[in-house]
């Protein structure tokens, strides 16, 4: 499926030029949008295999807390904090995945959901992790001695990391490895895959671990952005938000979650100061899309684009 390059280039250009013209408020919006897009794309890489993770927030939290603990409690540099976050999340996901990925459908989803709850409860339980009130004064990284303490400079960190991860996951999707993941989508085709020598278990676990390493890393960055962390920041509602971004955007192609996360985050940040209204609108949009637009917004965009391209004289 050949994608045209120009929309993508335009977007990246816009993102790069933003700090020159935007206000602090819009920089905040941009940061949150980029974080959510990366989370959503990472979730999609697992969804693509036919597995629904209902506990991705747990891995985001794991990364966030790892970074915070490393930097605040152990006084390690925030850069290592970010790296450590990704490694811890990835390793945890590898272990959990090795045990749970032979479960299919709802069983897997519930196991990961349970794990997500355990993670949050774990951090809430101990004072070393800040307990119910969490930990504040999370330090941000320094770039050549200059701490990234304002929205504009921190934006660059977020932009670089999210573009990196998006490029990584996009690229992987179109490799041999990415195509092989499609063979694992249902139980029947996984059996076929096994019968031709594909080590399904290892592939699935590796993909899940990569996805969680990505969200763990971004979770660390997220915590540094907020400059605090507590058990209420990444909850089951976060996991459902990511799911909604992906489903609304469309889970048949990579750009679906990107569009879904981008649009819904913009909508959420702009219109709703109160969480319940945001959730209600998100949920309603989700239901409308599920019931009447199965391919998500991307399918609508594709349809419009096709019609527009086919209009003048074929």
């Amino acid at each position: 499926m050949k994608q045209q390059a120009w929309p993508f280039v335009v977007c990246v250009l816009a993102l790069v030029l933003m700090p020159a013209v935007a206000s602090t408020y819009w920089m905040h919006i941009a940061i949150v949008v980029l974080l959510n897009i990366t989370y959503a794309v990472a979730l999609f890489s697992v969804l693509r295999m036919g597995y629904l993770s209902l506990g991705h927030a747990g891995f985001i939290a794991l990364g966030a807390y790892t970074c915070v603990v490393l930097t605040v409690r152990l006084h390690i540099s925030p850069w290592w904090g970010i790296l450590g976050a990704g490694l811890v999340s990835g390793a945890m996901a590898w272990g959990l995945g090795a045990m749970t990925m032979r479960l299919r459908g709802i069983y897997f989803s519930l196991a990961i959901f349970a794990f997500g709850e355990i993670v949050v409860a774990f951090f809430r339980a101990f004072d070393w992790f800040g307990g119910p009130s969490g930990i504040a004064n999370v330090p941000r990284p320094k770039f050549f001695g200059h701490a990234l303490n304002d929205h504009f400079s921190f934006y660059w960190l977020v932009l670089c990391l999210s573009l990196f991860f998006m490029a990584l996951l996009y690229r992987l999707q179109f490799t041999r490895y990415g195509a092989t993941l499609l063979t694992l989508k249902t139980e029947a085709s996984e059996r076929l895959a096994q019968s031709v020598g594909i080590d399904a278990a290892r592939l699935k676990t590796a993909t899940f671990a990569l996805s969680c390493a990505v969200v763990g890393t971004m979770g660390a960055v997220h915590a540094q952005y907020l400059m605090f962390i507590n058990p209420q920041v990444f909850t089951f509602l976060t996991s459902t938000d990511l799911l909604i971004y992906a489903m609304v955007g469309g889970i048949t192609q990579f750009w679906g979650p990107v569009i879904g996360a981008g649009l819904l985050t913009l909508l959420g940040e702009q219109l709703f100061s109160v969480g319940y209204w945001k959730t209600l609108v998100y949920a309603l949009v989700l239901m409308v899309v599920i019931l009447s637009l199965p391919g998500g917004l991307m399918s609508l965009i594709d349809r419009i684009r096709d019609r527009w391209l086919n209009k003048p004289g074929g």
């Binding site: 490895y177 076929l192 019968s195 020598g197």
Partner: protein
């Protein structure tokens, strides 16, 4: 003459019910062997035991002299054993060519890093995969359908594609689970014709089949099971005359046609 597959005293019990009892036979390299028998005879059980779906309660299965008893399916694939499924099993969203390419995993690893960095070696491999996949499709006359998504294929072509995918693993032994099931008279003849004339030149084939006409016409040898035991092992032409086989099939249509 080397026996590519050796079934040695294989038995299988399911909760006390003996599905297989002491079945033994060899399959010679290059043969086309049919596993037949009335319903409930144990053909599927034996097939699944060989294919690694479960382990036999007793006995050994040797592939090219190596014990493969109880190995999981992806390990079997790497030892050179391929199989098709009774229900047509394909990768629905991939094209026919891409489906076949998935069969090359035994010989060409996923190369995660190569794909990530699009190295020269990776791209060369991809091009080679595509050419080889096309060659495999040609064995079964499917090359024209290379770019068709698998879910769009009609049953006859789909079944041929399942055989192509299995062939792509370059197996020593190919197990076909009722390859003619659900196909029309012409399609099933065509399927068996391709198997007997082309597939057989690449590997040994063992198939489970109900259609005795096809067995008689295309297969080199037949093993008949009844109540989990082997009651006949020989050429299909003799099968019709064997009193035990006739007894087992008494009343079943299709004999001797």
């Amino acid at each position: 003459m080397t026996a590519i597959l050796q079934i040695q005293n294989v038995s299988k019990q399911f909760d006390g019910l003996a599905a297989l009892s002491g079945v033994s036979f060899d399959v010679q390299q290059g043969e086309l062997l049919a596993l037949v028998g009335p319903n409930g005879a144990g053909k599927s059980t034996l097939f699944n035991a060989i294919a690694g779906v479960f382990s036999p309660t007793q006995g050994q299965i040797l592939l090219d002299g190596q014990d493969i008893t109880g190995l999981p399916s992806h390990a079997l694939a790497r030892r050179g054993l391929a199989r098709t499924f009774q229900m047509v099993n394909l990768f629905p969203e991939l094209t026919a060519l891409e489906n076949v390419m998935q069969g090359f995993h035994r010989h060409m690893p996923v190369d995660f890093m190569g794909g990530l960095f699009q190295t020269v070696a990776y791209r060369k491999d991809q091009a080679e995969w595509q050419t080889r996949a096309l060659d495999v499709l040609r064995i079964l006359d499917l090359q024209a359908l290379a770019d068709v998504p698998a879910q769009a294929l009609p049953l006859g072509q789909a079944k041929l594609l399942t055989v192509a995918i299995a062939m792509a693993t370059q197996p020593k032994l190919l197990l076909l689970d009722e390859p003619a099931a659900g196909l029309s008279h012409e399609e099933s003849s065509r399927m068996m014709d391709l198997v007997a004339s082309r597939v057989k030149t690449h590997c040994t084939v063992v198939l489970v089949e109900h259609n005795m006409r096809l067995v008689g016409r295309y297969c080199d040898r037949a093993v008949v099971l009844q109540f989990g035991q082997k009651i006949f092992d020989g050429i299909p032409q003799d099968l019709v005359h064997d009193p035990r086989v006739v007894n087992a099939y008494l009343g079943t249509a299709g004999m001797g046609t």
